[in-house]
Structure formats: C-alpha cells, structure tokens
Symmetry: C2
C-alpha cells in the first residue's frame, strides 16, 4: 500500500518552528533585548527554510511585540517595557465592543493596586526617578504635550517599582492605548497644576511606604483624569458603533482541549 512521501520528521509547521527557535535563543540567553538577529536570507538558510516562512514567523513575533522590524536596517529583539500588542486593544475593541469607561475602570483597578505594591516594594532608585518626573511635570505645566510624556513616564516608573512585570505589562497595554487617544485632545487641557500636585502626593505616599494611601490617591487621580479627558473631547464625533450582544453559553467553552 505505497506509503506516503513521509520522509522522517513530524515537521511541525514552519511558523511554529521559527517561533520556537527564537524562543529558545531568548531563553538560553543567546538573544537579549535590543539584539539584532541575522539577515533574513542568511537566517533562513541556516534554519533550512524558505525566506517566506521565516518572515511569517518573524511577523508573528513582531505582532506580539516580541520583535521589532526596521525596514532597511534589520530585525531586533524588543527592548522597551513589556506590552501586549499595541494594535491589539483597539482591534479587539472593534471586535468586542470595548467602551471607554471600561478602559478607565480597568486602568483604575490595575494602577491603584500597582501603586499599592509600589509603596510596599519601591526602592530608592524608583523614588528618585519618580521625583524627577514630578519636577518635570511642574516645569511643563504650560506645555501639555511635554506634560503628557512625563505623566506617562511617571506611571511607567510606578509600574516598574511594583516589582511585578506582568502587572506592569498589563498596565502598559491599557495606558498606551489611552495615551494615543489622549495625545489628540491634550492641547485643550487645563488644570495641569492640580494634576501635577496629585502626582506629587502619590509620589510621597509611595516613598513613605503607605500602600493604602497610595492606592486611594491613585484612584482619586484616575477618577479625575477620566473626567478631565471626557471634558476635553466634549465637542467630538460620536459614531456609537452597534454593540453586539454578549457571548452565548457555547462560545465560553472555547479552547478547552
């Protein structure tokens, strides 16, 4: 019964093969954040696969934020703060009907807890960095765009100070989505002084290792930030996409063996 053309290897799919290979390179330390991988043609030859397949695998990793591709320069291992796919949130928003208040709610829950952890575990280096950003915020109160940058930086440092990179990555995912939206309306903001002062208070609570207070202040801060942003885009388009009804019982079973 003439056997198939099944030479030998189980020959897992190429994409998977590439991802696994690079994963192992990262795990054993051969590749570190910021490193450059070999040119596609060369790397493909080394892995004994076509350049097209290699590209598929790299594309997959790039989509998840694990790698960064620069046209005409090379492909690198991501080195910024961990994050779960920038486009991800907005894409999934379109797909699952995410609402603005839900983003704020999620952010509030995450960041307030993160602030509490930062108050428990923050080290001197973090306090110094936070202090610096607060100072920069006060200095940039009349330059909304600059202010925003230091605002984001401040929150990023807190996330780092929490000592939990996973929570930091989750926060980063939501914050960066919000940041993109914010950048468009920030020029209209007012009361940056009050905002800066709240940041200073949060900073003090964290430096003084007061978790409960840090959490409370962060919640208050985000609550006000939300209202401010809603106000900033008062006169704006309201497409109001039709929100499809929620999942049925059946689809909950997805991915369970």
């Amino acid at each position: 019964m003439m056997r198939r053309t099944k030479p030998d290897q189980p020959d897992t799919h190429r994409t998977q093969q590439v991802v696994d290979h690079i994963r192992s390179l990262i795990e054993n330390g051969t590749l570190q954040p910021g490193d450059k991988i070999p040119p596609e043609r060369e790397f493909a030859r080394a892995l004994k696969i076509s350049r097209a397949s290699l590209r598929t695998g790299i594309g997959y990793l790039a989509a998840m934020g694990v790698m960064k591709v620069k046209h005409g320069v090379g492909t690198f291992v991501a080195d910024g703060p961990a994050e779960f796919g920038k486009a991800s949130l907005s894409l999934m928003g379109a797909l699952h009907g995410f609402q603005s208040w839900q983003m704020f709610e999620a952010r509030m829950i995450l960041e307030s807890q993160v602030a509490a952890l930062a108050a428990e575990r923050g080290k001197e280096e973090h306090h110094a960095a936070m202090s610096e950003e607060v100072a920069e915020m006060f200095a940039a109160m009349d330059a909304p765009a600059d202010y925003l940058i230091h605002d984001v930086l401040f929150h990023r440092i807190i996330a780092q100070a929490s000592g939990n990179p996973i929570l930091a990555a989750l926060s980063e995912t939501i914050t960066s989505a919000l940041y993109d939206k914010r950048r468009k309306t920030v020029e209209r903001s007012t009361d940056l002084r009050e905002s800066a002062e709240m940041h200073r208070e949060i900073y003090r609570a964290i430096r003084a290792h007061k978790p409960a207070e840090a959490r409370r202040l962060m919640e208050e801060h985000l609550r006000m930030a939300k209202e401010a942003q809603v106000m900033e885009r008062s006169a704006e388009r309201r497409p109001a996409a039709p929100v499809r009804s929620r999942a049925g019982r059946a689809e909950l079973r997805a991915n369970l063996t």
Copy 2:
C-alpha cells in the same frame, strides 16, 4: 528631475493596508465574530495586492487573536472570549523573566476585583451558569481533568458577569497561560472537594450581591490554589533561567513620540 514611479496613493505598507481594511469591515459590521473571510487568492485579487502580502496581514491579525486560520478550511474572525495572544505571555515571560509568583499575584488582583464587580453587576443568567458549573465540579471531583475544565469555565463566567470585557480579556490572558501549566500537574491534585466548596461559596457571595465578600473569598481561593499548584509540582525540574536585571532609565522612554 524625473519624478519617481509614484502613481497616486501614499501607498501605506501592505500589511497595514490589510489590517486596516479588515478592521473597517469589522467596525462597520460586515464581518462579525465567527464569520469566514474570502479565500486568500480571491481576497488578494480584490485588494489588488499579492497573496503573500495578504497573508502577512492575516498572520498579524491571527497572532493577536483577532482571526483564526484553519488549514484546508478557511480563515475566520475569532469568536471565543477576548484574549491577548496566547503565546504572548509565555514568550514575554522568556523575554522579561516573568516568575510564577508574579502570575499568581497578577491573577489574584485581577480576579478578586472582577469577582467584586460580578457581585455588583451579575445577572440571573450568570448566576444560573455559575451554579451549573459548580454542580459539574462536584460531579467531577474524581476526574481532575474534567474538574479543571469546569473550574476554568466558572472563572470565565465570572469575568463575563463583571460587565467589563477588557478586564475579562486580561484575566483570560493570564488564566489561560496558567491553565496550560496546570493541565500537566492536575492529575496529582487532591482536595478537589475543598476547592469545589470554595467555588460554591464564591458563587453564593456573587449571587447575594456581596462585593466585599466575593473579593475576599476569591483572594482566599486563589491563595490556596497557588499553594496547591506549587505542591503538585514539588518534584520537578528547576532550570532557573538567569533573570536579567531590570530596565534602565533610558528604555523607559520608549514609544513616547
């Protein structure tokens, strides 16, 4: 000075073009979860791009969990619960040195808050579904694998009952990563009765609309679950990958215009 062969369009990169096109199809309701997109050859011709480029774009969307491709069948819009790239967490774990306790900590923070929200907002349909899963857990106490499935389902329903799909997606991301790990050790578990009873208590707190109690019980449950899992894989490999030191000041500035 002879201009380039620049016919007309700004000609954004192909991948982006594909992603944007599909995004718009989703946003205007032409594509809904579960729908199938046209065959690659046909779709590529319609978009006036090569099949290879189309595939790159689809690959990007698939990597982020927005689409699902099935060899020999077709490509579909994802329909399961929202999630941020399954492989994502484990890949990023390798890259940023995620630790097990950090996953549990993140899960505890997210799920306890989610449980509180579910207690506030849960509807009858959710209570019914939760009740059913609890019953199934009691019925599967001597079949760890089955038990695990209903366990995951139970938590998934709570996430859905929270009324915040973003938080649900974040929980799902972490839970599914933990689920993969757990599946390997679950056969060794004991005390499933106690676990089932805790689930029942959580269910009761949510049904009774007691947020604070639901949060407390969920925290307690996850704390025990963590200890149980640590115990399950007592005699196991401990590679202890070298955790690279944390980010420097510079890389914090990433992605800020």
